[in-house]
Amino acid sequence: MTDQAYNFAYLDEQTKRMIRRAILKGVAVPGYQVPFASREMPMPYGWGTGGVQVTAACLVPEDRLKVIDQGADDTTNAVSIRKFFQRTAGVEVTEATAEATVIQTRHRIPETALSEGQILVYQVPIPEPLRFLEPRETETRKMHELEEYGLMHVKLYEDIARHGEIATSYAYPVKVEGRYVMDPSPIPKFDNPKLGGNAAIQLFGAGREQRIYAVPPYTQVVSLDFDDHPFVASKAPHDCDLCGASESYLDEVITDDQGSRMYVCSDTDFCATRQEAGHHGRLGVPQFSSKKIAKSLEGFCAAEGVTE
């Protein structure tokens, strides 16, 4: 049910046209950060205002929206953005990656492979990959113009000099179609290989920094590295303790003050789906995932939620 006090998907039409033009230019020049007139949103900067504006400009009433925060569907940020669009756009929502048509994400790419027809919208805090190396916008703009990315390689080299390997583990810089160096938002570098050749359209929105950029489907995206120190998509060397998955990205959870810890999939939908299919990890007993509990309660609180 849409809240009639708002325009469809919250933003006014003039704003959406401006964002849509920026998105199309971003798609035409993959990896280039298009400036746009970011609006104040009813949530603070840092809560995904860029992603929310991009999602609002893309949504149609027939969409099914999924929102994740570091892979999880059930965290505050994800829940509040999902409710925001349920209320202002009246779209259906889902937690299942394969069923979603638009997925807004904070800092993860879902484990389940995306398909054509899906749009992945990233919330980006600092869109400029060179910003921590060169604080002046005039300079970084010139560096992109001249394709002068030596400084980024120096940074990666200094990693190797200090740590013996490229220690950058998230927001790992990539080069798009051999032209622009791009910050893939702070996704773990484990997710970097999924950026290139993806069937879905990937859109990046940075609200505070007022930039939109894009990676069209089947686009070449290469993580920067050196011949003798090739890029490695690393993850914790464990299996998921809940679902036993060996190939998914893991969160480390401290379970007591004796140093005990467990590793669980960061992608809650992926983990819950595997558990429902009968997979179990080290912690043996089938766990009741939050998704399962929510489903069992569906009958009791179906009328709640959107109508409040």
Partner: protein, 199 residues
């Protein structure tokens, strides 16, 4: 206060019709088609909701209604530069009409848009400041020149008006104009990033 005699003193009543009936939802659906078209060059999409005056196609009308407003100078080329279209664009989009050199959007047939090097291709530090050409085509078909590049898994084919201009445009990358090809209610995209080859 004197009235500028250049100011059009009134719109033809026909100009008031043919816009979106339900702009938020119709423009959202139209944009999704434009996004898919631009992100997957060579694919052909159907759009609906606009009924612009001749010679504009439905698709060109939808593109104008979805993307143009008072902040986007629009160039009407050739036959599109007629009173009916000027009035319709002014009433429904409010886009200022301008010469080719200053246009963010331009609409016309490929021949009318010539020479294409008169359009903005962006600046080296701001390549997004480039024109989008809305090209009226007699028909769109998945045949003809071969397209490769971002958004295309292997290769696709699209009936382009020519190839030399698009090859020259690709050579300017990351500068260059972007193109939307329209025929009836069909639309396809050709961003500057696409490589075009004759068969």
């Amino acid at each position: 206060m004197t009235i500028n005699p250049q100011t059009p003193m009134g719109l033809a009543p026909e100009a008031l019709f043919g816009g979106f009936a339900e702009a938020p939802v119709q423009s959202a659906r139209a944009f999704r088609a434009l996004l898919e078209a631009m992100a997957r060059p060579g694919t052909i999409w159907q759009v609906e909701g606009a009924a612009p005056p001749a010679p504009l196609s439905i698709a060109a009308g939808v593109a104008i209604l979805t993307l143009c407003d008072g902040t986007t100078p629009l160039h009407l080329a050739g036959a599109a530069d007629c009173l009916a279209v000027r009035d319709w664009v002014t009433f429904h989009a409010g886009a200022p009409l301008c010469a080719a050199q200053g246009a963010m959007f331009a609409v016309g047939t490929w021949a009318e848009l010539m020479p294409v090097d008169q359009f903005r291709i962006g600046d080296p530090d701001y390549p997004d400041r480039a024109a989008t050409l809305i090209v009226e085509m007699p028909a769109l078909a998945p045949t003809g020149p071969r397209l490769t590049g971002p958004g295309i898994r292997e290769t696709v084919h699209l009936s382009l008006p020519e190839t030399a201009a698009f090859r020259a445009n690709r050579a300017l990358f990351p500068l260059g104009f972007d193109t939307l090809l329209c025929s009836g209610d069909q639309i396809a995209g050709l961003p500057r990033s696409t490589h075009v080859e004759d068969l």
